[in-house]
Amino acid sequence: MPARVSLIWQEAPGLSGLDPAQVALAAGVELDDGGLVEAAVVTVAQERAPRGLQERLAGLPVSWLDLAAEIGGGGDAHRLARAATAVARAAGRAAKGTLPPVYAPQPAQSVLVAGAGLGALAAAWEAAALGHPVTLATPFGDAATPGADDDPQAVGLMAAQLPAQVELATECELIGLAGSAGGFSARLMGPQGESSQGFGAVFLAPPGELAPGCEIHGLNPELCVLASKLDPEDWQGPEDAWLHAAVLAGSAQAAPSYSFAAALEAALALAKRPRVQVSLFYTEARVAVPGAERLFRDCRAAGVLPMRVEPGGLEVRGGHTLAWFDPLLGEEITLEPAVAVMAEQSGAPRPAWLDNELTVKPWDLLVPENPRLAGGKTSRSGLYILGSLRGTAPGAPRRAEAAAATADMHARLTGRVVPMPAVRDQLCARCLSCVRACPHGVPQFVGFGIACSPAGCVACGICAAECPAEAIAPPGWGQPEMLAALEAALAVAPEPKMVLFACGQSGMPAASALSASGHQWPAGLVIFPLVCAGRTSQVLVTRALELGAKGVLTAGCHPGNCRSISGNLVAAAKLEMVQGMLAELGLDPEAVSFLPLASNQTRELAQAVEALAVKAEEA
């Protein structure tokens, strides 16, 4: 028995001129008179509702509807119709009631930092400062041992200042990890053997290593010195001649800027020695780190000769002669250096267990270059990867990364308790679709069923879209609720009806911005906000068409920009399947489509909706 839904009108910018009673009437709901409420639609987002109202509605099925975001501009009648559709959609959802909320158990607060050096110490320091018990598992015998690419002094200072709640596990390595934010299980190998412990979050920051950053083959190893091992005092020219030194900062390809800057330091130190002539070899002068351009200039002012070579254009002859072409002089130059200083790149080997045990996913999916996962975050909720392993520049950026990652961790473990995805055990077929689908590692197969780790869920709903048994749902947004909302909205929407499934990271912010600027949407457009485009399921799209929608557009993030890594790709793939079905049925496959979008691409969204309306009009 569906509940009776009340419309609770809260004024907000963008709603002026609308008559609440008319909206309620058109949407088929009752306007709230302050009396008893079974279920409700409120016209503002929850954060903006007054506290008294929030208290009044506590425990009831409520759709907090950012109504203004879906209305936009146009005449009074037009806006009324749009408001009615939006309210009807929200009411359909509210009438469905909700699953009893399943609250996350209190997540584990303790944090494991596995690694050493600046990144690891910064993370341990930050986590402790936020009140988390920290285990710092270092492969070394003490906390003060730096990674090869760290500043030893900075590391020593940080190690000396480590707060008391950091428990140091020396000569200890992480060898396996399962779980997600709030509920990790870590296998550690220490001097006393293997042990297993639970943690709320894990920071992985293995010590950095330095490797020659400049591929040049065939040079006599006796001539070569790594930049970090160079002692300039060892070199000076004889009384009456010059000693030639080559500093190699890129030959096959350009060195990264921090590596180039370190090579510049070495070149400058050498150039200051008596009668030492330094030639600096590079393909690109990478000076995009603070002070590097100055350093580059200082080097030249000190007499360092800049030798730009084409990638691969530096040749070694007889083990001791460098040969390259100088395009300006139009001739080949050769040099027999007394020493060749090699620029280095920092990095860290990837722990073997990461690839097999923790994830079935490749590294690039775990640590994608996704702007929404900057600052140490990974696709696995609660797992942070810092420093050399991530390939960030040593020094200051590592501290910033540790600080940003730790704040995220703290919010996850202590923030507002999120009702977690509920698995209706009696419906669950244990097919593990959700385990495979969840990009955040939240559902795990434990014992005989699925358990969701408490603090990892972002409610993207990709699991729910995948579950064939409708057994799993992000809080309150299972398939039945979605369908009820869709049906209610399409029942009210004027012809031609259309649906825009709008991702909360891209499509919906763009739509809100358009509405706020007075953009006039087609009257029959149902805007259906989703947390992530990945929540669109085949059922949802085909049901929209069955209910009379002439077109369906899903606006999700561009590939590589999805907060849930693959939600956009999943959505696009689903739509492609529906397109195939439509084609087989002899219907226009173009009636459904996926629009890759960024939240600031309002113009592109308006154009796509306009095109959708033109098609719907024709259909």
Binding site: R286, A288, E369, R372, A404, H410, Q505, A598, N600
Partner: protein, 356 residues
């Protein structure tokens, strides 16, 4: 110190990505903050940037401003004053007292936050300066003819043109576009001896957006060196080099031709060559924040050797984002995390000391 004297634990000057991120990060740490924005709407420079995705996200981070604005609006710990100017700042007994005065703002200032109503003074435990960097005014390099020759635009103007759809099929369709790099960067003679870090990335990505919209358009990239830009950059470069003509030469000037601007540069033989383009884009660099001098005076923030604000100034003063040096949006967001952490530690220490 009496904790009751504190109006807001942390005061953040600047409501761009760095300032908003600092506020969000503090909120994640459970600390309230007040953000003060000079303009009528928060967002700062990032609000003018276009999405640079073509087949996939270009990782420019321009879209993250929207996330931040939404999150800042949703978090009750964050108070946002727009159209507010800092008029004085004073530190006493470890606390900062900062006076704010309202600026004239438009009637319907968009976005979250409310214009500051009246002059007020706030006492706070920590101040984060997140005032951003200043984009180089191409008038400072008059040889590139910005404002003098039609068709010459700064990269910032191109951002807006691309965002508004002014370039593409059915709009302006230039046959030849040139990018001139290092305008106001790597310029020791001009008193700007630093690499602005972001220009190679944004220019090549906007070039790719133009090529994506208008596959017939030829794009030339005049540069000294290609800087690195993010982790996957090295893998991206080869395909960019196939798509775009890379010319390693700093152009000497832009002149007015009959058909449009002409770029004068050293040709492959060394002698000057003048080539016509429909559009010449000046990739302007990032400099120290506007009014760095007055902020320096107000807060005693020490400038570094290039005039950017040193990351840690006097007690309780922190700097986030491009005000401390050229940074991409993503880097500014991460960098703000560090300023937030330091500010939080500072406020924690103050409270602890107050408790005895």
């Amino acid at each position: 110190m009496n904790p009751a004297e504190i109006d807001t634990p942390v005061l953040i000057i600047g409501g761009g990505v760095a300032g908003l991120s600092a506020a969000v990060e503090l909120s994640r740490r459970g600390l309230a903050s007040t953000v003060v924005e000079r303009e009528a709407a928060p967002g700062g420079r990032a609000g003018e940037f276009c999405c640079k995705a073509v087949a996939a996200c270009a990782r420019c981070g321009a879209c993250r401003l929207g996330d931040l604005l939404a999150e800042a609006a949703a978090r009750p710990e964050i108070t946002l004053h727009t159209a507010a100017l800092v008029t004085s700042a004073e530190q006493k007994d470890g606390l900062w007292t900062v006076e704010l005065s309202p600026q004239p703002a438009g009637d319907d200032a968009p976005g979250p936050g409310a214009p500051l109503g009246e002059r007020c003074s706030l006492t706070t435990g920590a101040v984060i300066l997140a005032v951003g960097g200043q984009v180089f005014d191409p008038a400072g390099k008059s040889r590139f003819a910005h404002g003098r020759v039609e068709g010459v635009h700064s990269a910032l103007e191109l951002e807006a043109m691309l965002a508004m759809g002014a370039i593409g099929p059915g709009a302006m369709a230039p046959a030849k576009v040139a990018f001139i790099q290092c305008v106001g960067s790597r310029d020791a003679a001009g008193g700007r001896p630093w690499c602005s870090r972001v220009c190679c990335g944004y220019a090549l990505r906007m070039a790719r957006v133009i090529r994506h919209r208008l596959p017939e358009t030829e794009v030339t990239f005049f540069h000294m060196d290609v800087q690195d830009y993010g982790r996957a950059w090295e893998e991206e470069l080869p395909s960019l080099k196939e798509d775009i003509r890379f010319v390693r030469a700093m152009p000497g000037e832009v002149t007015a031709g009959e058909q449009g601007p002409r770029v004068v540069f050293a040709g492959p033989e060394g002698a000057p060559v003048s080539e016509g383009f429909d559009l010449v884009i000046l990739s302007v660099g990032i400099g120290p924040p506007n009014g760095a001098g007055s902020l320096h005076e107000l807060f005693g923030a020490a400038p570094d050797q290039d005039g950017f604000l040193a990351e840690e100034g006097p007690d309780g003063l922190f700097v986030a984002g491009a005000a401390a040096g050229p940074r991409s949006l993503n880097e500014s967001i991460t960098h703000a995390g560090l300023a937030a952490s330091r500010a939080a530690a500072r406020v924690g220490a103050l409270l602890e000391a107050a408790r005895g």
